[in-house]
Amino acid sequence: MLDATAHEFARLPDAPGVGYKPQHFSEIADDAGPVAWLEIHAENYMGDGGRPIAQLRHLAERFAFSVHGVGLSIGGEGPLDSEHLARLKHLVDWLDPASFSEHLAWSTHDSAFLNDLLPLPYTEASLARVAEHVDEVQEVVGRRMLLENPSSYLAFEESTLTETDFLREVAKRTGCGLLLDVNNVFVSATNLGTDPVSYINAFPVELVGEIHLGGHDDDEDDHGAPLLIDNHGSEVADPVWSLFEYTIRKSGPKPSLIEWDNDVPEWPVLKAEANRAAKVLEAATA
């Protein structure tokens, strides 16, 4: 059995973090600004050695780390990949990060890995499967994980549960925490015609161990309705900042990450985004 108290993470600071990009290595070391912690995609650091691991060891002396998986396929219909879980355990064991998180999504089916976070219906059956998978991850890795809300472009007609009820119930059954991606909330609400503030109100903020902020792109569907694409390729949009402020007023300060994975900007641009997040967090403590 998982002894949650013995294996509790050190906990990320209630401060801004950024998604770590190797091109920012020296600048982050010289001029971190308000950035107190870094997040990495687990799968990029599962090689045996070389520059990626060397950089990570170096930065880990100074920064708290969040390991964010993108390949476990927790929402998959099939069993979890035990080899991949073992690699994850190895990474978490040596790096000893302050947090590990993954997505409410699937990416592998019949052994083909699709390199995207794919959606699942919210039903009793999928809930039972996701909870089983989260249990397995926590059991193998030996720590409590955070599960992230996805960005949605469509809905499943077969769904019987809301996303917030689904996540709350997974957390209740497994003891996992939640990662609240505020940009995903805004993107999904816009795309599916729901209200983002009601989503935050329904979200169990007391279980949130980390917040994500990122940029999205604008498109439209067949009927000309807005279709926002979660691409982490630009500044955080103003309505997402407003939703973040609303969330932080409700939850108090939380570890808050700027995710910028595509068209990665120069360090000062990313740092400016972290500064903006820092102001929101400071206002909540004042």
């Binding site: 799968e43 083909a112 890995f113 699709l114």
Partner: protein, 249 residues
Amino acid sequence: MTVDQTMFREALLDPEAARPDGLSDGKGRPAGRRFDVYRNNVSVSLTEALEVGFPVIRKLVGQENFRLLASAYLRRHPPHSPLMMHFGADMPSFLANFEPTRQTGYLPDVARLELAIRESYHAADADPLSPAELEALPPEALVGSRVQLATSVRLVRSPWPILSIWRFNAEEAAKSPEMAAEDVLVARPDLDPVPELLPPGGAEFINALLTGATFGDAMDMASEASRNFDLPAVLTVLVKMKTMIEIGG
């Protein structure tokens, strides 16, 4: 209507396939092209992974052709691991058989070189033997010894001038390639893999060491393969590239 992940996956990977039923826009209308966001994410993210892995192949065939090639590749050889660092291992054989590239004989070997560089980049760290440790060994002891090479060492042999082609497309001010067979050692003297042209017999010598032969046997095999085998020249490369990590009986 339930949509299982087999249906979802098949429609994702085949742009001609019908989109699954049972998906909506959240307001009662069919999802339509909303499904294509996922299709696009899958193909763009996997194509980008191939672009990162094969920058020289991309330059050789051109950006537009590389996209077409990548789109055929990812349908034929979808990844079977979430580690994008390993994606593309079938590229050499794919290029050898893909109709638009199969006449360009050097492409598969250039792809093998790019794969070797990527594998070397992620290979385990190792402490190389110092030149002093090597010099301390008397020559007669060396002949009977076996040497362990770092796991970041790769050997790529080709009837084509693959390293010259690679340099011409990856480095500024590189000379234009001339027809010649080239054997390339890829090693990681520090944190970045470096490809190095091997002198005659060098590939046979290193290949023998990699398969566990003694120094003496490796020298015999290399001399047999090439009359111009030059042991000091090969040893200089092996030492400079910090490839040797242990010598024993």
